[in-house]
Symmetry: none
Subunit: 244 residues, 2 copies
């Protein structure tokens, strides 16, 4: 049980600027038994500084998956959590770290936890890929949590919440959640269909509406069967012969 | 309650070797609202490195109390907790971080939490000054938790355990959830539309499919605006003039 929770977590650092933070993240992960590090467009990696700060956790660095973009890092992930250190203009479902770990434990398949840039975190577009934002409680007058420290807190909660004492939440039965890339294909298909039916207009901005729909469907966390059903509905709507 | 718990905690670093760790500790403290740092015989303090790693938390460093010995740092403290990263030869009452915070909250007066040297932690003599050892759960194969990371974990628990609304699972604020009757109207509308488009057939049982779709959309808990959007989409699909 513990092993499987630890195994399914991907820590995804997006555009990290300071190699020291990558090393410190590897160390924070390993102390809590996490091993899967994904780096999206890191600056200066590999580097001696990262290795130094990793202390004995350089095996995590050596096995880190360096990705060109977020899609690559999220491929196959079922539950996507985005950490956010500050008040956001977008409103998105939020969990505290403990709730997020419970959610992860109940997920069949891979869970990606995203950590943003040192200066400005995750972009709104990146946050909209997430099922939930994870809000680490901080001092409202000083929210400047270092990235590796944020990883440490989440990794600690992962370890604590599921130390094998029989208390951990059970794996949910049922189909696995739809993979990140399947969710993206669904949203593309949805937008295309809404344009065809005239619900959306090609001449008008559609970002806000698509964001609302993403928030709604992400909240439902469709499983693989459900996303196929939704795609099937969209295909039927598009097929003129089936229309009256 | 929160204010008083935060106020009564002293973070005591014993013989810290790397100034960077002192700075990172100050930052970790301040992000969680802790302010009282005691340094017992620190090496190289104050230093530019400590200030750099403190980021905006240099006010914590400026007010840090530098002590010659542990007695000085513990003066007036009522509850003394010692963090310990590894199995110890002395057996001593142990708490996990969450239990330690509960103990601190129940204490009238100052609480000191001790963090030992980078290389070998606290001596047995120092540990014996403590009421309890605090054992942060770690990967048994790699217990090398950085000092500032250990402070971060404890400081986080202090903040979480005593944030007044820490329990509230927060949906992002927004519109009220759709009323039960509006959900029913949506499902009727959905079924009607799926029949029209040919996704569902009038000759075949539809109970199972509609049940799946109910489960999916109920899980999303649409609010009043969202259910109106979904109804609007269905209406557009039904309108023949909008179809290609």
């Amino acid at each position: 049980m513990l092993a499987s929770l630890l195994d399914k977590i991907r820590i995804v650092l997006v555009n990290t600027t300071h190699p020291g933070n990558i090393g410190a993240t590897a160390r924070a992960m390993k102390t809590m038994g996490l091993e899967r590090l994904y780096l999206v467009g890191p600056q200066g990696f590999p580097s001696a500084e990262a290795t130094a700060r990793a202390a004995g956790a350089d095996d995590i660095l050596a096995r880190a998956v360096v990705c060109d973009d977020l899609d690559e890092a999220l491929e196959g992930a079922r539950l996507i959590l985005g950490t956010s250190g500050r008040a956001r203009s977008i409103s998105w479902p939020e969990l505290d770290p403990r709730q997020a770990v419970a959610e992860a434990a109940n997920t069949t398949g891979d869970v990606a936890i995203l950590f943003g840039r040192e200066r400005y975190g995750l972009t709104n577009e990146e946050l909209q890929r997430c099922h939930y934002l994870v809000n680490i409680p901080t001092n409202p007058e000083y929210r400047s949590l270092n990235i590796a420290s944020a990883v440490q807190v989440l990794a600690y909660e992962i370890r604590v919440g599921h130390t094998p004492d029989g208390k951990g939440p059970k794996e949910a039965p049922g189909d696995p959640l739809a993979a990140a890339e399947d969710m993206e294909r669904f949203y593309e298909h949805l937008e295309e269909t809404l344009l065809q039916t005239g619900f959306l207009s090609p001449d008008q901005p559609r970002v806000t509406m698509m964001k609302r729909l993403r928030r709604l469907f992400n909240r439902a966390k469709p499983d693989t069967t459900e996303i196929n059903i939704l795609r099937g509905i969209l295909s039927t709507i598009q097929r003129p012969k089936n229309r009256r």
